[in-house]
Each structure stands twice: as C-alpha cells, then as structure tokens.
C-alpha cells in the first residue's frame, strides 16, 4: 500500500474551512493511499464531516489544495467528485423510497435518454456480487432496513465507478450484526483495490477495520498513525487532548448527603438495543460528578432517562428523596431536578417566544383565574434576561437567538428554581469561548450553592476542569470512577473499555 510507487488516491493539503467564527478545518493535511481503509477519528464537531464534504464538492475550502492520484484538481460539486471517482455515503441517505433498489442506483446516472431497467438491474446485480453486497435490486427501498438502505447508497457510489469511498459514521445507524456485514463488504472492496475513508468516533471499530488513523481535534490534525502500531488508549488520548480552561472550582468539598442516586439503571436506545446497562451512580450535594466517554456509549440515553423522557427498563432513580423512576418530566421537575439537555432544540419550542419558553415548564405559576398572566410572563422574562445577560427581548422567537443565548435561556429557566439536582448534558457544545465560560461559571456557582450536578460531556477538558469525580462510560456501562487529576493514560484506557479496579459506588453509598 504505502510502499507502492503509485501516487496516493487522495491528497489534501493545508485545507482551511471557516463557518463564520468557527474554524471547522484549520490547515488540515490528509493523505489517502490507494487500497487502504483510513479512519478519520475525532469527537463531534472535530471537523471530520466538513473535510470530507470538501473532498466531495459539497463545501468549497477557503484555502488548501487537493490532488487525486497525483493530479491537482478543483472540485466544484459532487458531479466533479464523482467524475474523479469519489463516492460518499452521508449520514442522511438520499434515496427515493417508492422506487426499487435498481432504479435508485441508476437514478441520475443513465446513459442517454433511454432507461433500460432490466439491463440496469443486471448491472446493479453484477456490482452487488462483485463486492459481496447482498441486496435485491428489485426490492423497493421503502421496504428495506436502515442497514440495507446503506448498502444501496454504497452500491450507488460503486455503480458510478467510485474507487474512493467515503463513509460518514456508517455504523451509527447499524446493529452489531449489520456492522459486521459492512466490514466484510469493506474488506472485499479493499481487496478489489478501492480506497475507503471511514469516519467514526468509535475506537473499537477503527481498530478492527482500518489500516491507518488520522485524528482530528477542534479542526486540526493531531496525527496520523498506523492502526497496528497504536492502541485504543492512545487514540482516545489523541482525540480528547488536555485541559485548557480558565474557570476553576473553589476548594469546597462535597457534603455527605447523596441527592441523586441511580441504582442499576438500564435503558434501550431508539432502535430498541440496550444502551444503558446497570449504571449505579451517587451524586452528593455540592458535587459535580462528570460523566465522560466517547460519544454514542449510552450517555445520551442515560441523560434522557434522568430527564424523564426515556423509559427506564431496569433499576431505579431517587432524586432528593423522591423516586423518579419513569415518573415523567413533571414529577421529575417537582422533585427538584433541573434539566439542561444535550440538544437545545429538545427543550425549547423554536417558534415560541423567549418569555413563553421561560414559562412553559411551570405554566400554573403564570395562570390567574384560568387566564394566562401575560404581564407576569413578560416581567419574569425581563428579569431573567437581565440576570443572565441574555441578548434578546421577551417577545423574540427563540429561533432568532444565537446558540449561546438560547443556552442561557435554558440555564435561566432551570437555575432560577434553585434545583437541588441538576442533569446537564453537553452544555457548551457549539458555544463560543465567552458563552462557554459563562456556562461553566454558573455550574460552579450551583455546586457551591449545594446542588448535586451530573455533568455529561464529551468534552474531556470540561469534565476534568469542573468535576469532583469522573465516571467513565463505555458501551452503556460505568468503567470506573476516578479523580479529575487522573493521568490521561488511565482515562484513555477507561474510555476505550478497559475496566480498572477501583472502589465501586456501592461502598461509598453508606
């Protein structure tokens, strides 16, 4: 592969791409050798998708150059990319559901005006055989599973003579069995000389299927390593880097009373597969317990269970002395739990106003004689806007706010009620430095006030700076609980699924 004299399949040099203030790709160099499977690894927002969208002609780089098989090229559109033998399977499939597999594959790629479907169907079948991709060309896409649809997308790219295949987080939507089938297909393609870019943030998959790994972090390349010469722990460390924050928490120590208690909590993900397995955690008053882990390891589902919007299929949860297992959002809030979810759009109605969203969780407080007290809602909003320095007016639709201001609205809505337990997930994702610092400051204040805070974040810096203890989650389980000054080596091991011996949560529950 690398030893061969043939030029690299793709060379990207000095790629820069900005979105407003965000630098999604900062002088990225990336080389894909012919016939290799190359992982692009990095946390959410690291810039993986952006880099590949540039290669596929969906974005235009602000700077940098691209060579394909040694030839400098300019890629204006996916059409150009396809002409250069590049195919991409994105996270969102672009298939026409009522049409058959064969029709979808040849759609937009027919010779001349005539459409000879039997012939097309045969060609699709040939391509499917050649690469060992099992799918019936005459099946209708609407009848296919997600995994099968993905295979159709791959076929589409192969049918267009792609010899470079980009897969953007292909396993995110697959069951473990489907992942295995995908990997088999990829190996077949590799043996036929195709080169594959495999985007992922799942370490074991990267270890299992790739030849080399390029790690991106905050838009920059941290390094490229041979898979055989690295370990999951090293990759985890490269992905997450080290702490760099300004906010520091005061040296008060947590009190003894446990305000949030999770005992053997289990839950399923949206596909019905186990996502949270026997999670036991105790969070004390005045404590921030950080929950770290590579994304997609059950953190999101666990947060939703605690927020009262996902069913808990095992174990129980006690907040502030109230059993809130499967209690629903109202009872969870009534138990004194404040919730700041991962996806801001999950908790605000974008087309309602700031004032309405601020009142939505406690409408009873703004009702007098069965009628909404709009004056009170407005006054309340004005007061929170002032207290939390939100750049918005009470009557602005939330949709018009920046991410930082939207997060402040949610923060204000939660914190004004002085919750004794706070569940907060990815609180600074997509925020600029100023807003990030503000959010951190507020969380530290709540800790000092005596709230028990469960901080779920993929941002290790955030976790290590703010937490009193750090629990690490991997494939739905807690791998261990460590102090925030733990060495990154250990943390990397935990995040890659290696359990280390430490006192289990049960012993300190007493």
């Amino acid at each position: 592969m690398t030893e061969s004299i043939s030029p690299p399949a793709v060379e990207m040099r000095g790629i820069v791409k900005r979105f407003g203030p965000v630098i999604a790709n900062n002088h990225v160099d990336f080389t894909l050798e012919q016939g290799e499977i190359h992982a692009l690894l990095g946390e959410n927002g690291a810039g993986k998708t952006t880099l590949m969208r540039i290669l596929y002609g969906l974005y235009h780089p602000d700077a940098g150059e691209i060579r394909i098989k040694g030839q400098p090229v300019v890629i204006h559109s996916p059409k150009d990319a396809i002409a250069h033998g590049i195919g991409m399977v994105t996270q969102h499939f672009a298939l026409a559901a009522p049409l058959t597999v064969a029709e979808n594959v040849v759609l937009g790629y027919t010779d001349g005006f005539r459409l000879d479907l039997p012939a097309a169907s045969q060609k699709v079948l040939d391509a499917a055989r050649r690469f060992g991709i099992e799918v019936d060309p005459n099946a209708r896409v609407k009848d296919l599973s997600v995994g099968q649809r993905q295979r159709v997308e791959i076929l589409k790219a192969l049918y267009r003579q792609a010899d470079v295949l980009i897969l953007d987080e292909p396993t995110a939507v697959l069951t473990p069995q489907e992942v295995e089938q995908l990997f088999e297909g990829l190996r077949r393609m590799q043996s036929q000389g195709l080169s594959v870019v495999f985007i992922s943030h799942k370490l074991h998959e990267v270890m299992a299927i790739t030849d080399r790994v390029t790690v991106l972090r905050q838009g920059e390349v941290i390094g490229t390593v041979r898979t055989q010469e690295t370990t999951p722990a090293e990759l985890a460390r490269m992905m997450v880097g080290r702490p760099t924050f300004g906010v520091s928490k005061p040296d008060t120590s947590p009190r003894d009373d446990v305000l949030l208690r999770l005992e053997k909590v289990a839950a399923l993900d949206s596909r019905g597969l186990p996502a949270v397995k026997d999670v036991t955690l105790h969070v004390r008053a005045g404590e921030i317990l950080g929950l770290a882990g590579v994304s997609g390891n059950g953190q999101r589902e666990l947060a939703q269970v605690l927020e009262g919007v996902r069913r808990c299929t095992g174990g129980y949860i006690v907040a502030n002395g109230h059993d809130i297992t499967n209690a629903g959002p109202r009872k969870v809030m009534a138990a004194g739990v404040g919730r700041i979810p991962e996806d801001r759009h999950e908790s605000v109605v974008l087309d309602l106003t700031v004032a309405q969203n601020m009142a939505l969780e406690h409408l009873d407080a703004y009702t007098r004689g069965g009628v909404l007290d709009k004056k009170r809602m407005r006054a309340h909003a004005e007061q929170l806007i002032e207290a939390y320095q939100i750049k918005a007016r009470p009557d602005d639709p939330i949709r018009t706010l920046s991410g930082g201001n939207m997060q402040k609205v949610i923060l204000a809505r939660v914190l004004e009620r002085n919750p004794s337990v706070i569940i907060v997930a990815q609180p600074t994702r997509g925020l600029d430095v100023g807003a990030t610092e503000y959010v951190h400051q507020k969380l530290v204040e709540q800790r000092e006030r005596g709230a028990a805070i469960l901080l779920i974040s993929e941002d290790l810096d955030e976790i290590l700076t703010l937490s009193d203890r750090v629990a690490v989650m991997y494939e739905g389980e807690i791998m261990g609980i460590v102090p925030p000054d733990v060495d990154l080596e250990t943390l990397g091991l935990l995040m890659s699924g290696v359990r280390i011996a430490n006192e289990p949560e049960n012993t300190e529950a007493a």
């Binding site: 927020e307 919007v309 939505l360």
Partner: protein
C-alpha cells in the same frame, strides 16, 4: 446574475403582507383564465370583489355565505395550531348536520330555547365523535391523521346518503332529503326578510372563544407548544397526547356546529350536499387567515365575498360559475407558496 434561495426568516413586518400578496397573485393568475373565456378581467373582478358590497341585499348575502366558513375555518385553525392536521372538517360537518336534523325533527313540542341548544350540543358531539377515531389512531398508533380524516369524509357522505335514501327519504316527493325540522328548531332571522340568521352570531361567538383559548389561556399556549415542537413540549412536562386529543375533538365539534348551522339556518332539512365542500374551504380560510382568529374572520368574509360574486359574475359576464372555485383553489396554492417566504429568501447576486 444568479438567484439563490437561502434559509432565513422573514422580517416581522412582512408577515401580514403574505395573505395580501397571495390575493394579488391569485388575481393576476386567474385573470388569465378570465381572458381565456373571453371576459374582461377588470369587469370580472369588479363583480367578484366590489359589486357584492355595493348593495345591502348582497352584502348581507356575503355575511350569510361567510357564516359556515367562519365555523369550518375556526375548526381547522384549532386543530392545526395544536398540530393535528384535520382534513376532515367536511365529514365532521356532515355528521353535525345529521345529528342536528335527528334532534330537530323531534322538537315540535319544545320551545326554541330548548330545541336550539339541544341541536348545537348534538352537532358538536357528533363532530367530536367523528374525529375521535382518527384522533385516537394518531395518538395511540401514530397513524397519520391527514389520511384518516380525509378518508372519513367519504364515509360520512355515504352514511348521510344511506340515511337519506333509507329511513329519511321524503315519503311524498321520494327525494333523498330528510323531513323538515320543527319550526322551533329553526334559527331565528337576525334581519327580517333576509337569510341572515342566528348562526352568524354563533359563528362570531365561536371565533371569539377560539381567539380567547388560543391567546389567553395556558391550554392555548400548550397547544402551540405541541403543534410547533412536540418534543420540547413533552420535555416541558406537557401531556402531548392529551393536548392533541383535545385539539382534535374541539376542532371536530366546531366543524359539527357548521353542520348544525346549515340545517337550522339555511335548509331546514338534511340533504347530502349540505356541507358542499365548505369543510375543505375551511382549510383555505384557516391557511389564508394565518391560523389566528382575526385572520380567519377576514379570510372567511373574503371567501364569502368571492362565493357571492361568482354568481353575479357568471350572470353578468357569462363566465362559468366554477371560476369562484378556481379562484379559491388558486388562493390556497399561492398562500402556501407565499408562506414559504416566511422561512426562505431569494437573493439576487
């Protein structure tokens, strides 16, 4: 020069202009049809839009024509705001009319103040019952209500026609029309020797109540939250299923009232053309009215105006009476198209 479509919300001042622009565009587009049938579009739109307002008789007729549209428009609005896409106002209206007839024909011994409230309650309940099944299917089984409510319109029409050809067939004329309702069940006239009846006031009252619920009550805010962002509504502790169910039922009930209105105010007996597409027109009224009560009121009067005008215009200029329907349908399409401008802009560079 290059045209680009960008996603960006329209400024606030632009929103009220959307229906006006839609109306203007509709007039332009349909003028072509008017020219094609050999008439002068200026004359045609004079008869459509101005002439009905120029005499007392025809002005009152506009109000009469608007009455059921106020109700079906309010019904559709109530459902749409709550996120329930009720396309079945037509069927719910038919059921309301049937219930009103069933009650009305037995009211010979009752005074009006008993008969009329009974018919209103019966019509409301029948409309509610007719939307109950699609509403439950949506909430419990996640079956798309657009399809189910639409299909039930046909079922409602068949039921009505079965009743009219069976038990209620007029024994004398053999026409498929029900016996007349009792005199005490007939809506009193608001102005003597016109067709304007009590239903008009009832429709205005319903509009007022809908306005109040949607803008002044916590339930209205919950409905909006559920309609605009069900996930976030659920997160905030709102019972999404219950809210959807209530929105759907109230909507069906109001559509049922539109049926009562036609029986007790206009026809005095049941015929299978009693709804006559006004349930569907309610969708146009609600959309053109921007899903708010005052907008719906204006839109209902506007469509009532066109309805009245289409008769005059076909008499005066010999154009087909269906031109009115064409204008209404075009208006729906242009309104929907213009609503896109709330979310997108076209940039020229």
């Amino acid at each position: 020069m290059k045209l680009r479509i960008e996603k960006s919300p329209a400024p606030v001042w632009f929103r009220p202009l959307i229906p006006l622009l839609a109306i203007l565009f509709t007039i332009l587009i349909t003028s072509v049809l008017v020219i094609l049938v050999g008439a002068n579009p200026f004359h045609a739109f004079y008869y459509f839009l101005i002439d009905p307002l120029s005499s007392r008789v025809s002005f009152i007729e506009v109000l009469v024509k608007s009455t059921p549209l106020l109700l079906t428009g309010a019904a559709v609005t109530f459902a749409f705001v709550g996120g329930f896409w009720n396309i079945g106002a037509e069927g719910q209206m038919l059921m309301g009319a049937t219930a009103a007839t069933a009650i009305g024909i037995h009211m010979h011994a009752a005074p009006p103040w008993v008969a009329i409230p009974l018919m209103l309650a019966g019509g409301f309940a029948a409309g509610m019952a007719w939307v109950l099944i699609p509403a439950l299917m949506r909430v419990k089984l996640h079956i798309d209500e657009v399809v189910t409510t639409l299909l039930l319109n046909a079922v409602a029409l068949l039921i009505v026609s079965a009743i009219l050809n069976g038990p209620w067939r007029d024994p004398v004329s053999q026409w498929p029309q029900s016996p007349e309702i009792a005199a005490s069940a007939i809506f009193p006239k608001l102005i003597p020797r016109t067709r304007l009846h009590l239903g008009f006031l009832i429709a205005l009252a319903v509009i007022l109540i809908v306005w109040f619920i949607l803008t002044r009550t916590p339930f209205g805010l919950k409905m909006k939250a559920v309609g605009l962002g069900p996930q976030a509504a659920r997160f905030a502790g709102i019972n999404v299923d219950r809210t959807l169910l209530i929105s759907a039922l109230v909507s069906g009930g109001i559509a049922g009232l539109a049926g009562v209105n036609e029986v007790a105010g206009i026809h005095y007996h049941l015929i299978d053309a009693i709804a006559g597409g006004q349930g569907y027109t309610g969708i146009i009224v609600a959309t053109l009215g921007g899903l708010n009560a005052w907008g719906v009121t204006l839109a209902a009067f506007f469509i009532g105006l066109i309805d009245t005008g289409s008769q005059t215009v076909s008499r005066a200029l010999g154009v087909p009476i269906y031109l009115g329907d064409v204008i209404q349908a075009t208006l729906l399409l242009t309104t929907l198209a213009f609503l896109l401008f709330q979310r997108y802009r076209i940039r020229i560079r």
